[in-house]
């Protein structure tokens, strides 16, 4: 695991534990997420993948009765230390894309402009530019440029998901968290998103949760395997899929369970 540290980590997680009420959902997680790479998180249902990535932008706190222990550092700042990191700022720098596309019931344009505008950018020219750039970044521009005022719900599922990616890009984050972004999509849309992830890693650090092992193998540089709230193994993706150290990892990636 020596090479993990050779790349500058964007997130360092140290002995992190999380409970929902009395139920421990994450146990002693420690890992470092490299910059400008794609990190995949795999594991069976309920193993805590979503909880983990929602912790990285503190979205997990929206659930009631969450309790946490341990440290998470975003570029060396403790994300839970409100003196140094305001949660609104953290979330601006760490964008997120969800399993089910969740555009706002507004026009395509307004969806993208939402982020910049809450941050006080009202200048129509700048917004136009941001919308165009973001949609281009999410490989959606060509498909929607003629109907930016159409309601976002008129898009197909795959388009909506790219819209959500574009929306995340609009505030120019450093990191993008993706929680099973293709789970509800058809094969074609899935392929498009996978291509997009590949392109995006030039500029962004990406963390992607997926159920689909082939997808993890195809898109990621590193893969973390979660099981029952524990991080079983974290290594180069190739290694995880070809020659994992842990038997459980091997069982999982070869489809013995999950």
């Amino acid at each position: 695991m020596s090479d993990i540290n050779s790349i500058r980590p964007v997130f360092s997680v140290k002995d992190f534990n999380l409970w929902y009420g009395d139920k421990q959902v994450l146990t002693d997680i420690s890992l470092e997420i490299p910059e400008k790479k794609v990190t995949a998180i795999i594991g069976p249902s309920g193993s805590g993948k979503s909880t983990f990535i929602k912790t990285l932008n503190r979205m997990v706190e929206l659930a009631p009765s969450v309790r946490m222990e341990g440290g998470i550092y975003y570029k060396d700042n403790n994300i839970f230390d409100d003196a140094h990191t305001q949660v609104e700022v953290l979330r601006t720098e760490v964008g997120m894309v969800f399993q089910k596309p969740n555009p706002f019931p507004k026009s395509i344009y307004d969806n993208i402009a939402y982020g910049p505008s809450i941050h006080g950018i009202k200048d129509k020219k700048i917004l136009d530019q941001v919308v165009e750039n973001s949609l281009k970044g999410a490989a959606l521009w060509d498909e929607v440029k003629d109907r930016l005022q159409a309601n976002a719900f008129s898009l197909s599922g795959g388009q909506q998901q790219r819209l959500c990616i574009a929306r995340a890009l609009a505030v120019e984050p450093e990191v993008i968290l993706m929680d099973e972004p293709t789970a509800s999509l058809d094969p074609l849309s899935t392929a498009k998103i996978e291509d997009l992830v590949h392109d995006l890693k030039k500029d962004y650090s990406i963390i992607i949760v997926t159920h689909n092992m082939q997808q993890a193998a195809r898109v990621s540089d590193k893969t973390a395997f979660f099981l029952n709230g524990e991080l079983i193994e974290f290594d180069e993706t190739e290694r995880i899929f070809s020659n994992p150290k842990d038997k459980r990892t091997n069982d999982y990636v070869s489809g013995k369970f999950g």
């Binding site: 305001q86 609104e88 700022v89 601006t92 982020g115 910049p116 809450i118 941050h119 006080g120 950018i121 700048i126 530019q129 941001v130 750039n133 281009k136 970044g137 609009a170 505030v171 120019e172 500029d203």
Partner: protein, 294 residues
């Protein structure tokens, strides 16, 4: 792409402003929420202090009297019970039956939709209009006079739409998978209704029914319309007896010139409120108990 300059560059000041706006809004919203609670408190404190002198057992066991000290709500309380004994079965049988028909049997066509729209709109028709209906239909055309029967039926019609709507809602909120489970076992439609729908919908139906009954108990206008504003010093003996009910009795006391009767009216209001709050609590209890599960 990232070669361009950064547009979004959240600076400390702007973030601070947004956060304090949020904090201020939270306080404003809270005060608004609190306002309702405060008014409720004022109202309750007021009628309790006003009626305090008359809040005793005699209030419950005495009939109305020209003498405030001797005045009680016996006739009104029992009158309310009598009226409800007509209202409850009529409203429940008609209401739940209609809801079952509409949700489970009715064909999904324009006519059914029209009926449903009509019923849900009737739920919003003012109670006094139901009073007019009761006056015309029961008191005059059907010659029931100002009897318990006429009053009970008027109230039943008034809450019928509400019961239909809330029962429909309760039935509709039964997860599809419960139906599927039943059908997959080879159950027939009626068996599904009996063994799956009714048991699962009962809490919801009950909640709606209790809430609308408590509305009926607190209503004055429709019964005023059918002429229930009377002095009565006996307990109704049958559904054909004359009657008075709590809110009417309160209203009639409140229209007395003597200040003491205002206090008796307040004491009566306290009793009425206790009944209604108790009914609401039961309804909420049922709702909470059953909404926990799934």
């Amino acid at each position: 792409m990232r070669t361009q300059k950064k547009y979004v560059n959240p600076d400390e000041k702007q973030i601070k402003k947004r956060i304090s706006k949020n904090k201020a809004a939270r306080i404003v919203f809270f005060i608004a929420t609190f306002f309702g609670l405060a008014v409720l408190a004022v109202l309750i404190i007021r009628i309790v202090t006003q009626g305090a002198g008359y809040l005793n057992l005699d209030l419950l066991t005495n009939f109305a009297s020209r003498n405030p000290e001797n005045s009680g709500i016996k006739a009104a309380l029992l009158g309310t019970l009598w009226v409800m004994s007509v209202t409850i079965p009529v409203a429940l049988i008609l209401g739940i039956g209609t809801a079952i028909y509409l949700e489970e049997y009715a064909p999904n066509n324009k006519f059914t939709q029209f009926i449903e729209l009509n019923i849900s709109n009737l739920a919003g028709v003012p109670s006094i209009v139901f009073g007019l209906l009761g006056l015309t239909l029961f008191v005059r055309y059907l010659g029931m006079g100002r009897s318990v029967l006429a009053g009970g039926l008027t109230m039943a019609l008034m809450i019928l739409p509400v019961i239909v709507v809330s029962s429909k809602e309760a039935i509709r909120s039964i997860p599809q998978d419960q139906y599927e489970a039943g059908y997959a076992m080879g159950a027939t439609k009626w068996q599904i209704i009996r063994t799956v729908v009714l048991p699962a919908a009962t809490p919801g139906i009950l909640t709606g029914a209790i809430l609308s009954l408590s509305r009926a108990i607190g209503e004055t206008a429709p019964l005023l319309m059918i002429g229930a504003m009377t002095f009565i010093a006996y307990v109704p003996e049958s559904i054909f007896s004359s009657f008075t009910v709590l809110p009417i009795q309160i209203f009639s006391w409140a229209s007395r010139p003597q200040a003491e009767f205002q206090a008796v009216a307040a004491a009566g209001s306290v009793v009425l409120l206790i009944i209604l709050i108790a009914m609401n609590s039961i309804a909420i209890g049922i709702r909470n108990k059953f909404s926990k599960r799934n």
